[in-house]
């Protein structure tokens, strides 16, 4: 049984001018409870996709729906969504706390309905929440933006490059709070050009390049689709012969001091078992392909 669909993007195209196509026929689905990473290099169309989903940008063609409601500017269903798009944005001459209060009240809801203290707590701003935003560092603004996105306990979080500009400690903190929020049942759609980030935070990944969908699936699926292994053994020649004859192995190439094996179904453990059985001692086995390799390969195929 699949979880209910939260975000449905169908054939989304956004053309800014005749020469600039930011998003080109993109379709993907986000289901409840998933943490989906929209992955792609800068300029892949990730931000435009998220802006279109939030009704900020009018699609040239295609449709988008959140919780089954077709998106148009200012649609009420957005109140169930928390978002951080292309960096935080605050009124500089007011305090962080005041900004959150005004943001919340602008939507016409009573302040008591906002999870203000809880969100500020997550932001970790402490007493700085009462200082004017113009005195904040980039990281503090980013964390306040994160708090703003969480104010309404959203069922869906849309985060554009959530760790951009944060220092390593803050990145870990954001990652941990994302995992906590996801664990509480919130669906998350985030964009990133950092593969490691998506690999560590997301359950699913949508790979984009030049506005187009490259691949979508679980992180494991995308990684596996171009999986390979790197081995170092005591007798490379014998190993090449043994491995080349195994089922589920695509190519075997010596890559001194080791061997690179492209897999098409076989597991790395199968390789080790076969080598040991054939009397070859295995020194090192690594998953040569991380999501990064997979990504580069996917993108590389389509680069000019």
């Amino acid at each position: 049984m699949d979880a209910p669909v939260v975000v449905e993007v169908t054939d989304l195209t956004k053309r800014f001018s005749t020469h600039v196509i930011a998003v080109d026929g993109l379709s993907f689905t986000v289901r409840r409870g998933q943490v989906v990473g929209l992955l792609g290099p800068n300029g892949a169309g990730k931000t435009t996709t998220l802006r279109a989903l939030l009704g900020l940008v009018r699609p040239t063609s295609g449709t988008m729906a959140i919780f089954g409601e077709t998106i148009r500017p200012g649609i009420a269903v957005l109140s169930r969504v928390g978002a951080l798009v292309e960096g935080p944005g605050f009124v500089p001459h007011l305090s962080g706390r005041r900004n959150l209060e005004l943001y919340w009240r602008a939507g016409g809801s009573a302040l008591s309905e906002a999870h203000l203290e809880q969100s500020l707590e997550i932001s970790g701003l402490g007493p700085a929440a009462d200082r004017k935003v113009k005195t904040y560092s980039h990281g503090m603004r980013q964390r306040l933006g994160f708090a703003q996105a969480l104010l309404g306990k959203p069922e869906l979080l849309i985060l554009d490059e959530p760790v951009n500009g944060l220092d390593p400690r803050q990145i870990v903190e954001v990652r941990e709070s994302l995992l906590r929020i996801a664990a509480s049942g919130t669906t998350i759609l985030l964009s990133s050009h950092l593969l490691s980030e998506v690999e560590q935070t997301c359950s699913h990944v949508v790979v984009m390049h030049r506005g187009r969908l490259m691949q979508a699936g679980t992180v494991a699926e995308v990684t596996a689709s171009v999986a390979s292994a790197y081995l170092e053994v005591d007798d490379p020649d014998a190993a090449v012969t043994i491995l080349a004859g195994l089922p589920g192995v695509n190519t075997v190439d010596p890559s001194p001091p080791g061997i690179v094996v492209q897999l098409s179904g076989a597991e790395r453990s199968d390789l080790v078992a076969a080598l040991v059985k054939g009397g070859v001692r295995v020194d090192t086995v690594t998953a040569r392909r991380s999501l990064e390799d997979a990504f580069l390969e996917l993108v590389g195929e389509h680069s000019v």
């Binding site: 200012g74 649609i75 605050f90 007011l94 602008a106 939507g107």
Partner: protein
Amino acid sequence: MIAVEFAKQIRRVRTWVVAAICVVIPFLVGLGFELGGSTNGGGGENLNFVTHQSGTVIGIFALSFSSVLLIPIVFAIFTGEPVASEARWGSLRYLLIRPVTRARVLASKLGVSVVLAVVATVLIPIIGTIVGIGFFGLHPIHAFGIGIGSPILTLSVGDSLARLLLATAYTLFSMFSVVGVATLVGVATENALAAMASGIGLYIVSAILDALPGLRRIHPILPVHYLEAWTHLFLPGGSLGGMTRGVISAAIWGVVPLVLAFCVFQRKDILS
């Protein structure tokens, strides 16, 4: 949303700088007349008083001196900027995905800006009159027209105050054109400076065109053409025709760009 917008704008430095200017200018006008004694001051060609020794006259001159440039600038600053500032801060997108509908965002920003601009500019004749009362007290005023043997128009204190009120209301309504153009440019470009400059530029360009006799035919459609029509209120035999046409002109110059501004904002891709 209106309360929220008010909270944002009232704490801005520019709000208070503009308010301070609107308080200081009428002081200077009053002081000028106090120091200048009985010599006849400037003002529009229709403003001639037997004596300046009355509070209302100072209020009238304070309004006259500021209506050509200061008041349009104040309106351009207040109404051209809010959408552009919010875009520059990056908070506009969050307002729109809160969600607040675009029409509501623009309407509340426009409403609060206009109210603040009105409050600031209304200070000019009010403070002018108060300062004038301080210097000269409050007396009936005697106005005369140009030309020898022109009759004298005598206005009681109550009548002169009522006419000053009407003149102020007329001047503020004339600013509809600045509000419209500044709002349209502010929304379209998301550039506060461009918005303010276009609001003021509209006035400067049309004042120049209005001064060129060769362009007499287009003068009636220029937004500044009827700006000083209120001075007829203080002119013997003055007519209200200019003010009536001025109200119609300002309404057109205001409504057309404002409708356009709402359409542009409604359809715009928010990329800020």
